[in-house]
Amino acid sequence: MSQPPDKREARSRGNALRAHLSAYGFLAPAGILVLIFFMIPVAIILYLSVTNLASSNFTSDLAKMEFIGLKNYRTLLNDQFARKIFFNTIFYVLFTLSIFNVSLALIVSLLTTHIDRGAGFVFRALWILPRITSPVVYILIWKRMMAEAPFGIINQFNNWMGLPTYNYIATNPWVFVVVVNGFIGLSFGMIIFTSAIESIPRDLLNASLVDGSSKLQRIRYVIMPLIRWPLLFVFTYQTLSLLTSFVEIQLLTDGGPGLYRTEVWSLTAYHRALSNYFGNAQWGYGSAFAVLLVLIGVVLAVIYMRVFRFDELVAEPRVETL
C-alpha cells in the first residue's frame, strides 16, 4: 500500500536533513579547528590592530586596551617603507613560486618518474633534505657555505683557485632568499606532483607511446592535463604559504642589508609585534600589518578559486552524476 504524498515528502525532507546533518557532522572537526586556529585569532588581531597595545601598556584584558581607531593603519600607510616592503613581498612570492615551487618541482617530478624507480626515489629523497632539516641548521649551512673569506667554504675554493672572494649573501641577498626558500618549497610540489604522476594508470601512459607519441609529447598531452588539479593546488597553497613565511629570511638576512632590502610583510609584522631589541614591542601596530596580510591572503584565495574554477575541479565526476 503506497503512502500519502505528504508523508512521503516529509520522510524525504527528513532524509535530506539527516544527510545534511551527517555532512556537517563530518565537517565539524575541521570546522572547529579553523574556527579556533584561524577565525578567532583573526578576530583578536583585528581588535588589537585598533588599539595602541605595546609592552609599556600590555594587558590581556580586551576591555582595558585603549581603542585608537584606525591610527595604526594611518601610521602604516604613511610609513615611507610600506610600499617597498609590499613590493618586496610580491617579488619574493612571485619568483620563489614560479621558479622553484612550481616549475622546478614539476621538472624534478617528471625527471625522477622517467628514470629508474630506485634512482628516482634517491634523487627525490635528496631534494627533501632542505624541508626536513631544522631551519636554523639549514640557514647555518648556507651561511657557512657563503660566508666571506676566510670563513666561507665557497670562498675557500675561490682562494685556492686564485679567484676573487665575495660576501655573497650581502652582495646578492635576493638571490639567496629566493634560492634558500625555493629549495624548501620545491620538495612540497615535488611530492604532490610525483604522487599525481605515479597514480596515472600505466596502461594510459603506455597506450600513448604505442600510439606513437614521444615522451615529451606524452608529458604535454597526457600527463600535464591529468595533473592539472595538483598543479593548481600547489600554486594556490604555496602562494599563501610564501606570503606568511619569514623564518628563513629572518635567519638569513633579517630583512637587510640596507633599508629593508629583503624585508617582507610577514617579517615586518613579526619585527613590530614580537621582536624588538630594545623592548617595548608594538603589538597593536604589528597587528595592523598582520591584518593586511590576512586580507591579501583571503582575496588571493578567492581569486584563485574563481580563476582556476576549483568548484569544477572538486565536483563529482560527471559519470557519477548520470
Binding site: 605595546a54 609599556s56 631589541y277 630594545f278
Partner: protein
C-alpha cells in the same frame, strides 16, 4: 578499626596539616630570571645560590630558590617577561637592560624601589652615576647588576706595523681621554694604514654589525640629545646629520665597510677582530674580551695574546671635544607580581657586595658597580678592569622612555641608509626624522 585508633589517625592527620601549614609559612619561593652568556656571565644568577643560606639565616625563613638562566635573544627574553607578568607567572626578580624600565614601569610590571633602597646599606656604595639610568618618572626602579664600557679596541699589532712606537701605543688611552687624539685622528690613522697596505680597504674601523646601544654615542658625541630637560623625546637634526656624515664619510673614504651591518657576530666579526691582524680599530664592549680569550684566541695564549696585541680606549672625541663611552647596565628589577618583594630585595642586597660582584666583573670583564670594588684587591689587581674602570667617568647611557624603541629603530635606519649609499647624510636624517615623526607623532620634537 577501633574508635581510638580512628581518633588517633585523625589527630595525627590534623597535626600533620597544621605542622605543614606552619612550615609552609616560613618557606618562601623566589624565582630569578637571568640572561647570561655562559660561562663568563653565569654569576648573574648563580650568585643568588651562593647567598641563599646567608639570607635564610638573616631572615629566619627557608627560601625555595629557583634560578632560570640562559642566553636567549633579547627580544624573546623581554617578551617572555611581559607575557609572564600578564599571566601572573612573572619571576620575582628579572635581570634586563635598564632601558626596559621605560616600558615596564608604566605597564606596572615592576615596582619602584625608592622607599626600600635606604633599608639596605649595600646599595649606598653603588657608583652614583649608575643610578641615573635606573630612574623613571622621578623614581628608582632597579638595582644595577653590572656596568660596562663600550670602547674602541685598537690593534697594537697593526699600529706597530704602521710605525707607532710602544710609547705611542700605550699612551693612546690617555691621549684619547684628554681629548688630544680625536675621532678624526682615528679615521686619518685608519686611512694611512689602508694607504700603506697594512689593512685592506674597509678594515680600518669596524663598528657593531647589528642595531644596538653603541650607535648612540656617535650622536651624543655630536651634541645630540634624546630626552630634554622635561623628559620629552627630542631629536637634534644638526647632530643627526653630523653623525651620518661621520659614518657615511668613513664608508666613502674606504675606512669602514659598507656591509659591516649584517656581518655575522660569531662567524665573522668576533673571530676577525680577535686575531688583531685584520681590523685596525673596532668598536665593541668590554665583555668581548673574555669571549675572545675563551673562544677565539685560546690557542694563541688567550689573555696574554690579547694584552700583547689589543688595547682599548674611550671613543675619541667628536664634535663635543670630549671622549666618551656608553654604559648599558643590566639591572635587577622586582616584579609587581612578586609575593615576597622584601625577600627578593634582601637577596639582591646580599649579592651587591664587592666579593660577589667582583666574581662577575672579573670573569666577564664588566665594570664594577660599587666604589668599594675599586679598593678591593681582586678588582684592583685585575689588569683589565683596572685599565678600564676610569671609563665610567666618561660614560653616557640610553634613555628610559617608552618611545626609545621607535627612536632608536628610526636612527638605525638612517645609519643603514648612509652606509649602504642609499642616501647621503641629509637624506638619511630626513628618513630617520620622518620615521620618528610617523611613529611617535606628537611625542617627538625635532630641533
Amino acid at each position: 578499626m577501633s574508635s581510638k585508633i580512628r581518633l588517633a589517625l585523625v589527630f595525627f592527620l590534623l597535626f600533620g596539616l597544621l605542622a605543614g601549614a606552619a612550615f609552609a609559612q616560613d618557606s618562601v619561593s623566589i624565582t630569578v630570571r637571568c640572561k647570561a652568556s655562559p660561562p663568563e656571565e653565569d654569576w648573574r644568577c648563580n650568585s643568588f645560590a651562593v647567598v641563599e643560606e646567608q639570607v635564610e639565616a638573616e631572615l629566619g625563613i627557608e627560601i625555595d630558590l629557583n634560578l632560570i638562566q640562559d642566553n636567549a635573544g633579547w627580544g624573546d627574553y623581554k617578551n617572555e617577561f611581559v607575557l609572564a607578568s600578564e599571566a601572573g607567572e612573572a619571576p620575582d626578580i628579572i635581570l634586563s637592560g635598564h632601558e626596559d624600565i621605560g616600558a615596564w614601569a608604566p605597564a606596572g610590571f615592576i615596582i619602584p624601589l625608592d622607599d626600600v633602597i635606604g633599608m639596605h646599606s649595600e646599595f649606598d656604595d653603588i657608583v652614583p652615576s649608575l643610578w641615573d639610568s635606573h630612574g623613571y618618572a622621578g623614581e628608582i626602579w632597579g638595582i644595577p647588576q653590572d656596568a660596562e664600557a663600550r670602547p674602541i679596541f685598537y690593534s697594537k699589532l697593526l699600529l706597530r706595523d704602521l710605525g707607532w712606537s710602544e710609547d705611542d701605543i700605550e699612551s693612546l688611552p690617555e691621549r684619547v681621554a684628554a681629548g688630544e687624539w680625536t675621532f678624526a685622528d682615528m679615521l686619518a690613522t685608519a686611512e694611512a694604514a689602508i694607504d700603506e697596505g697594512i689593512v685592506d680597504e674597509g678594515n680600518g674601523w669596524w663598528h657593531r654589525p647589528s642595531n644596538g646601544p653603541d650607535f648612540l654615542y656617535y650622536y651624543y658625541g655630536h651634541g645630540g640629545e634624546v630626552i630634554d630637560m622635561e623628559g620629552n623625546m627630542v631629536v637634534d637634526s644638526e647632530a643627526l646629520v653630523a653623525t651620518y656624515e661621520l659614518l657615511g664619510g668613513a664608508v666613502a673614504s674606504g675606512v669602514l665597510r659598507s656591509d659591516v651591518i649584517g656581518l655575522d657576530w660569531n662567524e665573522v666579526w668576533h673571530p676577525t677582530v680577535a686575531q688583531a691582524d685584520t681590523v685596525l680599530f673596532a668598536a665593541g664592549g668590554t665583555w668581548n674580551w673574555p669571549n675572545w680569550s675563551i673562544n677565539y684566541v685560546a690557542d694563541k695564549g688567550g689573555d696574554e695574546f690579547l694584552f700583547e696585541n689589543i688595547g682599548l680606549t674611550l671613543i675619541p672625541a667628536m664634535a663635543t671635544g670630549e671622549a666618551i663611552t656608553l654604559t648599558h647596565p643590566l639591572t635587577y628589577m622586582i616584579s609587581s607580581g612578586s609575593e615576597n618583594p622584601d625577600v627578593a630585595l634582601e637577596l639582591i642586597a646580599a649579592i651587591t657586595t664587592p666579593e660577589h660582584n667582583n666574581k662577575h666583573a672579573i670573569d666577564s670583564f664588566h665594570l664594577g658597580i660599587l666604589n668599594a670594588q675599586l679598593e678591593s684587591e681582586a678588582y684592583a689587581n685585575n689588569r683589565l678592569l683596572s685599565s678600564a674602570h676610569y671609563m665610567l667617568d666618561h660614560t653616557t647611557a640610553l634613555p628610559n622612555h617608552p618611545g626609545w624603541n621607535a627612536w632608536s629603530n628610526a636612527y638605525f635606519l638612517g645609519i643603514q641608509a648612509v652606509e649602504t649609499g642609499e642616501a647621503d647624510a641629509a637624506g638619511a636624517a630626513d628618513i630617520a626624522i620622518a620615521q620618528m615623526q610617523n611613529e611617535l607623532g606628537d611625542g617627538i620634537t625635532v630641533r
